[in-house]
């Protein structure tokens, strides 16, 4: 029998081999963190043994910030200062949120430099907060929970987002994670995360649908699962439809039944909480009784039946089925070709949802994984792969962009440049020309959505290309490249082709934080100051440097002799020595410079290695493994 290895408390058994990585489900209602331990994906509980952290943040006047259960307890007393379901506001402007009269918040529109104009913010006792900052508080609690449980700093995290999140919502989520001190390994679509957890557990093969109805978002993804490959064929959804809307239907019915209108904020919050409780009760009971005392002293006492609830929320269910039909049409599949339907999200517990989905597919939906946890579990499995803890037998995940990207053309029309359901990463280059003699600048407006009019789509970025050499109209050729990365995020670059000069590009994003703004916000945050930011930044830099040295060293041992001559090898080794000389010191900038130098010195080597692996992919031995 092998001897058991017992490590010192607080130290993992093999610090160099296992990198600590987590998957985080940043949900509308609850958030979770999970990790892979001894090969098994596990949700990490808090000290009280709770897995679910309510996604609620309370700001007290004295600057104290409460997150989770403790914040939830303050919501009726301090509705303005207790932010619930903040995910609905991520990457959104006031006009996107629609009717705010039934929401107990003090909204403001961002005007400062920290957030692009038009983005929604909330005024609290602790000052004006952006949804990004509120979400960062939730993520920070989960990060600390994981670091405590795992006994070390995290290499990185996979954060899940609704598949139907657009670029602005994804960018906001990534910003929140960075603000919480997390290294984002990937933004992963929630239904895809669920499919990983489900597929690996069940050795599933064939076409599956993932029906994900969360607290505030709805996604439907159609995936083809085959051995070693998860391929998303199509996705659809509604990033403003979730369990909250079902609560809201009950809330409105309560107002109607009692002849109430504009209520004060504490009453709105209290009634919404009662509405949610009634909804949950109706999952297992045929009736639910709501009793509440309003601040006016008026007493509410109503009984709701399940049939009544189903009737009042039927059109919400229909909206999900409509998205489902669109996704199947895009995947060019009939409902009968779907082998299984995986249900995800707490809201799928409602019996009429189960019924409607079952009727649609002509089969019972699969509920064998906890719908609240499956997304976090799948994210943790993917985080483990991305951190480099597995090799050889891992799988391939092919995901798509949910909404088409386009640019504004004459007359406010949209020309689509990257169609929805394109596999990412994806890029498209488009050439533009000038329409006036001597024109040296042009503006480009990027939008996301399926509609024909710019005004019906989401504006992602308006930017100006400057520095175009003055030429006759129509002779300049500006090639603009739109790149969507593996997180589903867009970046834009431009080049003037005719003259060969690189045109300068001024990108003015409509949303999102710059690196400087993130750094400043980290500085401003009292909470973070206690983490001793400088020391952390240095440690992160040292970790990155050590990983780089390890990666280059491995690469040289594998391919150095084969792909590089002696001089090239010596150049790389010289840069490695340069980095080794400064890595243990405390000069953050010196390490950064040495890392950049080594990255530069090994770029050509990396290209040669990539060429080699592409050749080997087609040489046959990898092909046979996929058959």
């Amino acid at each position: 029998m092998a001897l058991l290895q017992i490590s010192e408390p607080g130290l993992s058994a093999a610090p160099h081999q296992h990198r600590l990585a987590v998957g985080i489900d940043l949900g509308t209602t609850n958030s979770l963190v999970a990790t892979v331990r001894s090969g098994i994906s596990t949700v990490l509980n808090d000290e009280q043994g709770c897995a679910l952290l309510p996604s609620v943040v309370h700001y007290a006047a004295d600057g104290e910030v409460l997150v989770g259960q403790m914040a939830q307890e303050e919501q009726s007393a301090y509705p303005h200062n207790t932010i619930v379901s903040v995910k609905r506001f991520m990457g959104r402007g006031l006009k996107d949120v629609g009717d705010v009269s039934n929401l107990p918040y003090r909204f403001v529109e961002a005007t400062g430099s920290a957030q692009a104009p038009g983005m929604l913010q909330l005024r609290t006792a602790a000052g004006v907060k952006s949804p990004v900052e509120v979400s960062a508080e939730i993520l920070r609690v989960l990060r600390l929970r994981a670091e405590q449980a795992l006994g070390g700093e995290l290499v990185g995290a996979v954060i899940t987002v609704p598949a139907y999140f657009d670029d602005a919502q994804r960018q906001a989520t990534k910003d929140a994670a960075r603000l919480a001190g997390l290294n984002v390994l990937r933004l992963l679509n929630e239904p895809t995360a669920a499919a990983i957890a489900y597929g690996l557990d069940n050795a599933a093969e064939g076409v599956y649908a993932v029906y994900d109805l969360g607290g505030g978002t709805f996604d439907i993804s159609i995936l083809r699962l085959s051995r070693g490959v998860f391929e998303v064929l199509a996705t659809n959804g509604d990033s403003a439809l979730g369990g909250d809307d079902f609560d809201h239907r009950i809330y409105c019915r309560l107002l109607e039944k009692n002849g109430l209108s504009a209520l004060p904020a504490p009453d709105i919050r209290a009634l919404l909480t009662h509405a949610r409780a009634a909804k949950e009760q109706l999952t297992d009971h045929l009736e639910a009784r709501v009793t509440a005392v309003l601040s006016s002293g008026e007493v509410i006492d109503n009984v709701l039946t399940r049939a009544e609830f189903h009737e009042m929320s039927q059109n919400l269910v229909q909206r999900t089925l409509q998205a489902l039909r669109k996704a199947l049409r895009d995947a060019k599949l009939a409902a009968s070709e779907v082998k299984g339907v995986v249900m995800v999200g707490g809201a799928t517990r409602m019996p009429h949802i189960q019924q409607a989905v079952g009727d649609f597919f002509g089969q019972s939906p699969l509920n064998n994984l906890d719908p609240d946890k499956v997304v976090a579990l799948g994210a943790a499995i993917q985080a483990n792969v991305l951190a480099g803890n597995r090799s050889g037998d891992d799988w391939l995940l092919l995901d798509v962009i949910p909404l088409s990207l386009g640019i504004e053309t004459m007359g406010g029309l949209v020309e689509k440049i990257v169609p929805r359901n394109s596999t990412i990463p994806s890029a498209r280059a488009q050439e533009f020309t000038t329409y006036k003699d001597g024109q040296t600048a042009m503006s480009i407006h990027v939008v996301q959505g399926e509609r024909e009019l710019v005004s019906d789509c989401r504006s992602l970025a308006k930017f100006e290309l400057r520095g175009i050499p003055a030429m006759v109209a129509g002779s300049a050729r500006i090639r603009v490249t739109f790149q969507i990365d593996a997180d589903g995020l867009l970046s834009v670059s431009a080049r003037e082709m005719a003259s060969g000069t690189e045109a300068s590009i001024v990108v003015k994003p409509s949303y999102g934080l710059s690196d400087e703004e993130i750094t400043r916000m980290l500085h401003d945050s009292n909470q973070y100051a206690r983490d001793d930011m400088m020391a952390r930044a240095l440690r992160e830099q040292q970790t990155e440097a050590a990983q780089l040295l390890e990666a280059v060293d491995n690469a040289l041992r594998q391919d150095g002799e084969e792909l590089l001559d002696a001089a090239a090898q010596a150049r790389i080794r010289g840069s490695m020595d340069g980095l080794r000389a400064v890595i243990a010191g405390s000069d953050h900038q010196a390490i950064k410079r040495a890392v950049e130098a080594l990255n530069l010195a090994s770029t050509e080597f990396a290209q040669k290695r990539m060429d080699k692996s592409v050749k080997s992919a087609l040489a046959g031995h990898k092909l046979s493994e996929l058959e």
Partner: protein, 180 residues
């Protein structure tokens, strides 16, 4: 900056281990695609230095672009013609056979009518007819490109298929509209 290696510049058919023909073996295409993805996908590089992550994204983007170019028959025809230096004149050449144009107008009217009448069965039937025509034109493309090398004729078919693709998209939107 894009990778400059010889492999990055090669055409999509070579990249996927296929002969440069309109008629291709879909299984080989898919297998090559997955084999390439298994080597270059960003998920394999997430723990590696930035330079390699960037290369991986560029390669995967190219592999995805190539897969789109070869998997979709209309794109594949366009790509083959471009390799031959043939301009398909999709923007500039708008002269179509009058017979084809008549048919287009008739179909477009049928689509409008089905939409007005909220007649899903009629839309489905129209979709079938359009698909049938698309398949017929694709067979002709195979002959023009692979056998007779009649590229001007092939360009004409590409222009027709572009019309039909647009029509198919509009039928799809009509389905969505009837559903909402």
């Amino acid at each position: 900056m894009l990778p400059s290696g010889a492999d990055f510049q090669q055409d999509f058919f070579s990249l996927f281990n296929l002969p440069a023909r309109f008629q291709i073996d879909a299984t080989t295409l898919e297998r090559s695609y997955l084999a390439l993805q298994a080597q270059v996908h960003p998920d394999k590089f997430a723990h590696l230095p930035e330079a390699e992550r960037r290369l991986s994204m560029q390669w995967t983007t190219r592999v995805n672009e190539g897969y789109q170019a070869l998997r979709n028959p209309l794109n594949r025809a366009r790509y083959l013609l471009s390799l031959q230096g043939v301009d398909t004149q999709e923007e500039s050449n708008t002269s179509m056979p009058s017979e084809f144009l008549m048919q287009q107008m008739e179909w477009r009217e049928a689509q409008e009518e089905a939409l007005q009448a909220k007649d899903i069965a009629a839309l489905e039937e129209l979709e079938q007819r359009v698909q049938h025509e698309v398949r017929f034109l694709q067979q002709q493309l195979a002959v023009d490109i692979d056998d007779t090398h009649d590229y001007p004729a092939a360009s004409g078919i590409v222009r027709k298929l572009k019309f039909l693709e647009k029509l198919a998209e509009e039928i799809g939107s009509a389905f969505d509209e009837l559903d909402s």
